[in-house]
């Protein structure tokens, strides 16, 4: 298929379905067509992503296209430079089809908290696609793009991948450049790919990964190629009881599915190792303190002076800041800024932010201990299947708890992959989370590929 034909197919899907799904905040039809035509005419087809359409989460800068991060605060902002990941995609021959919806600044697990409109799950329009990379996941699930970039701070790639029946990888912290990515929580944010298959995820990942001099936290380790395999002889798969049989609030169908996934791995030669991640229950609290503390500083630049609508006739400079921010930032964003500001404030920093950092180290140590007895970990990505729109919005804390299994690897900086492992009785997709050792993306991709094919033999 030519790049042009592929792009036209995606644009046709967008035209047909995005009115109800609302995956995109901006579709660059003209740009995508132009690039596809250029690739068909000039390129030899050898580039790793030649002619493939990729949707980009709208907190990642594409030069000349709007960059909103899902916030009215950034409405009208157009960056002049590409994010490093975008530069890499273009160099690899990809076609960027548009910018996808997200929870404002990545703060949410359902994409209902976009400052513009909620995205719906293409598999069941009454349900959320997950978040915050819900637009990216929905775009792929509705065949509007071959793959997409998401960002993951506490589960924002993995959980929407699980909710939309896709594969989604959060790489090791530092593996993929954050340059040009609107920061939510800088010590946690990572860019990663979503696609229908683990193999496609790996294909995009290979393009994204690598050192970038524009990001001081970018890792210099060489990127390992994936060795695809069919049997898992000798692989030690850790099963944390806190993520499965002792997990609080875990949906029973999901629990059963994960056991089926474990059985599938064992059938292919893997050894299951029961382990414990004893600090799991503190993960949510630590995550929401560290992430909101960093966010409170990262979002200070959105002060009404240069972005967003400036409050008219403020009496003082403080009033200008307060009114502009209150008008242009959504409630959840304001909640997290206030929470983070409080966690860092004098007299409380030790009890909240500092303590959360100590817990974070404990959580990382849990994983380090686990690596003594296993090579990868497997558990559910989300404790529940995709919920109905509006079901959670009244209770932010309940929504925070949905991140129970994804925040741990984020806090520890570990690579984690969500792999589709079938559906429940309502035909809602279920994702399994594979967690790897630092910079062992190749390992979890290879295992994830075996796992996906165990449930969907056609997914190669």
């Amino acid at each position: 298929m030519t790049a042009t034909a592929h792009v036209e197919a995606c644009l046709a899907q967008i035209a047909a379905r995005d009115g109800e799904v609302a995956a995109f905040l901006h579709v660059d039809a003209a740009g995508a067509r132009q690039r596809a035509a250029w690739l068909d005419a000039r390129a030899d087809g050898s580039a790793p992503l030649h002619g493939l359409t990729i949707a980009v989460k709208d907190n990642i800068a594409v030069a000349g296209q709007p960059l909103t991060a899902g916030s009215r605060m950034l409405a009208g902002y157009v960056p002049a430079r590409d994010a490093t990941v975008v530069t890499r995609l273009l160099a690899a021959g990809a076609v960027l089809i548009g910018k996808t919806n997200l929870d404002e600044f990545g703060m949410g697990s359902s994409t209902e908290l976009s400052g513009f409109a909620p995205t719906r799950n293409p598999l069941d329009l009454a349900r959320v696609p997950g978040g915050s990379s819900g637009g990216s996941a929905a775009a792929i699930a509705a065949d509007m793009a071959w793959a997409a970039l998401g960002t993951d701070t506490g589960g924002s790639i993995r959980q929407p991948a699980a909710f939309c029946g896709l594969a989604g990888l959060k790489p090791t912290y530092g593996r993929v450049s954050r340059s040009g990515v609107v920061a939510y929580a800088s010590s946690l944010d990572q860019v990663g790919p979503l696609a229908k298959t683990v193999r496609d995820v790996a294909r995009v990942y290979a393009v994204l990964a690598g050192h970038d001099a524009l990001d001081a936290t970018s890792a210099v380790q060489p990127v390992q190629p994936v060795q695809w395999r069919d049997d898992l002889a000798g692989l030690r798969v850790g099963v944390a009881r806190e993520h499965l049989d002792d997990a609080v609030g875990l949906d029973s169908q999901i629990q059963a599915r994960i056991h089926a996934a474990l059985d599938a791995l064992r059938a292919r030669g893997a050894v299951l190792v029961p382990i414990s991640l004893p600090h799991t229950r503190h993960g949510i609290a630590a995550y929401y303190l560290v992430a909101t503390a960093e966010a409170s500083a990262n979002l200070s630049r959105y002060d009404g002076l240069r972005y967003g609508a400036r409050a008219p006739n403020p009496a003082t400079l403080d009033a200008l800041y307060t009114h502009s921010r209150a008008a242009s930032l959504g409630r959840e964003v304001q909640r997290r800024i206030l929470l983070g500001t409080f966690a860092l404030s004098a007299g409380f920093q030790d009890a909240f932010y500092q303590k959360a950092c100590r817990v974070r180290r404990k959580i990382a140590e849990d994983f380090q201990t686990a690596w003594r007895s296993c090579d990868v970990l497997l558990g559910p990505t989300s404790p529940v299947p995709p919920w109905l729109l509006g079901q959670m919005t009244a209770d932010p804390l309940a929504m925070y708890l949905m991140d129970a299994f994804t925040v741990g690897p984020s806090l520890a900086g570990l690579p984690a992959l969500s792999v589709p492992v079938g559906v429940d009785a309502q035909q809602l997709p279920i994702g399994a989370q594979l967690v790897g050792q630092p910079f062992q993306e190749a390992m979890i991709l290879a295992v994830g590929d075996v796992l996906q094919r165990a449930f969907a033999p056609e997914a190669t």
Binding site: I60, A61, L67, A69, L74, Y77, P79, A80, R81, A83, R178, S179, G180, V181, V182, A183, A185, S186, S187, A213, L214, D215, A216, T217, A293, E294, S296, A297, L299, S300, R301, D303, L305, R306, L317, D318, Y321, T341, L344, S345, A346, Q349, Y353
Partner: protein
């Protein structure tokens, strides 16, 4: 009220002499159109990330080595959070708990040791200009690399504070860390001042003074503030903990904000920047090529050239001046003491009268040395020298070196030929018979009077030694 003593500690911000900013590739410079030297990083655009400039680290380490600090193998950048229009990210990147240098000291000219608590790295903010039409923000300065040198409260007088600042400035300039320009703000000084009754060990309430942009303002602000605080206590009131601004025009400090209004900066480690680690081999290499610091230079001047303490201190405290001096006298060390004194008195007086840019003076050092040599050898009289310097320094149409050569040619040669001097001497002696008689009766000090009279007749262009010799011959004959 002399029963009080002042406790003073300085916080000095020095702008580092790097080509580019601390976290991006934008040029560090002065002037130019607003916001011309900016990029996504120093504008704080969404997604832009800071990457540390290695030269900044090298210069901060040099500053630490020059002030006998312990250089820290690991230091951490932190975010200092506050809102202001010229702070584009809403936080300043600085170092808080773990700075790059700790525990240094300076030795002042009188031998007193003043301790340095820490030196940390940070970025400068932009500049706000408040006008009738509103506030304008220029971010050219945003991201300029700074070090802050925090001194212990070891200073007791305004003079000590000035001596500390001079010593520190001299070291930073010698090491190529900072250009030391206080007027342009590349060296900025805040002072923490408190007073307490002599004999009391507990410290009094501390007031921070800002906005002092010269040595003179540092001295005057501290003197004023110490008096003010003693006055407050004498009135039976308590000193308020606050920040005060020095106003040179009003010659007083004025309250800017009190402790209650002070912001909570919510410092925390900047997750965009990994901890700064220095390796031992690199660090060892940094201590190898340190130049001679002002304190050593002062001693060398005293020992090698027998300069007076006052002269050696004056010369060495301005490193570019001392460098130019060293270059000029390299081939004629015998003239060093005379030349140093000549620079400190005659040349300095001219400089104060006529503002000539420093590079010009440095370039004219060899000419000044030649003129000084001629003067010392009697080839120029005092008056001729004074006139020559006056002419040259006022001659702004020429560069200083050219102006000196021109004025030197104009001055011509000194009169020392007996054939010219003798008739004038004879005429003076004939004009003052009673003084001649007194001289011969033993009032030998009148010799100076006669020399002066002869000099006057010759418009000052004569060699005083030659006149004196002639007079002695005639009067003592």
């Amino acid at each position: 009220m002399s029963a009080f003593e002042a406790i003073i500690g300085l916080e000095v911000h020095a702008q580092l002499l790097t080509r580019t900013k601390i976290f991006c590739g934008c040029a560090v410079a002065v002037g130019g159109p607003p916001n011309a030297r900016t990029c996504p990083v120093c504008l704080g655009l969404p997604g832009a990330l800071p990457v540390l400039n290695a030269e900044v680290v090298r210069l901060a380490v040099r500053a630490g080595l020059g002030t006998q600090c312990a250089i820290q193998r690991m230091s951490v950048f932190a975010r200092k959070n506050y809102f202001y229009p010229d702070l584009p990210k809403g936080y300043q990147i600085t170092q808080a708990e773990l700075p790059i240098c700790l525990d240094g000291q300076l030795t002042l000219d009188d031998g007193k040791v003043a301790r340095i608590q820490r030196i940390h790295l940070e970025e400068d903010a932009g500049k706000s200009s408040h006008g009738d039409a509103g506030t304008r923000v220029d971010l050219n300065r945003a991201g300029t690399p700074l070090i802050e040198i925090v001194g212990h409260p070891d200073l007791r007088t305004a003079d000590e504070a000035v001596a500390y600042l001079r010593e520190l400035r001299g070291i930073l300039m010698t090491l190529g860390v900072c250009d030391g320009n206080m007027e342009e703000g590349s060296l900025r000084c805040d002072a923490n001042v408190s007073v307490r009754p002599v004999g009391q060990t507990a410290l009094g309430t501390r007031v921070e003074i800002k906005n002092m942009n010269s040595f003179r303002s540092v001295r005057e602000a501290i003197v004023y503030e110490v008096d003010r605080q003693v006055g407050v206590i004498a009135d039976g009131e308590r000193v308020r903990q606050e920040t005060r601004l020095w106003s040179m025009d009003l010659a007083r400090t004025e309250s800017m904000r009190s402790k209650e209004e002070a912001a909570d900066y919510r410092y925390f480690p900047d997750p965009d920047l990994p901890p700064l680690q220095l390796d031992d081999a690199w660090l060892d290499a940094q201590s190898v090529d340190l130049p001679e610091l002002p304190a050593a230079r002062k001693i060398r001047y005293q020992q090698e050239f027998s300069l007076e303490t006052r002269t050696s201190n004056w010369l060495a405290e301005e490193p570019p001046r001392a460098d130019a001096f060293d270059r000029a006298i390299a081939d004629s060390p015998a003239l060093a003491a005379a030349f140093a004194a000549f620079l400190m008195t005659q040349v300095q007086a001219q400089l104060q009268r006529h503002e000539r840019p420093w590079p010009e003076l440095a370039a004219a050092m060899a000419d000044l040395l030649r003129i000084c040599g001629k003067w010392r050898a009697g080839q120029l009289s005092n008056q001729m020298l004074a006139e020559l310097l006056q002419l040259a320094f006022a001659d702004t149409a020429r560069g200083l070196a050219d102006a000196l050569a021109h004025a030197e040619a104009q001055a011509g040669a000194v009169v020392r030929d007996d054939g010219v001097l003798e008739p004038v001497v004879d005429a003076v002696l004939a004009k003052f018979p009673s003084e001649v008689a007194k001289y011969r009766a033993g009032q030998k000090q009148l010799s100076g009077f006669f020399v002066g009279q002869v000099m006057r007749q010759l418009a000052g262009k004569a060699d005083a030694k030659a006149i004196s010799a002639l007079l002695t011959r005639k009067l003592d004959a």
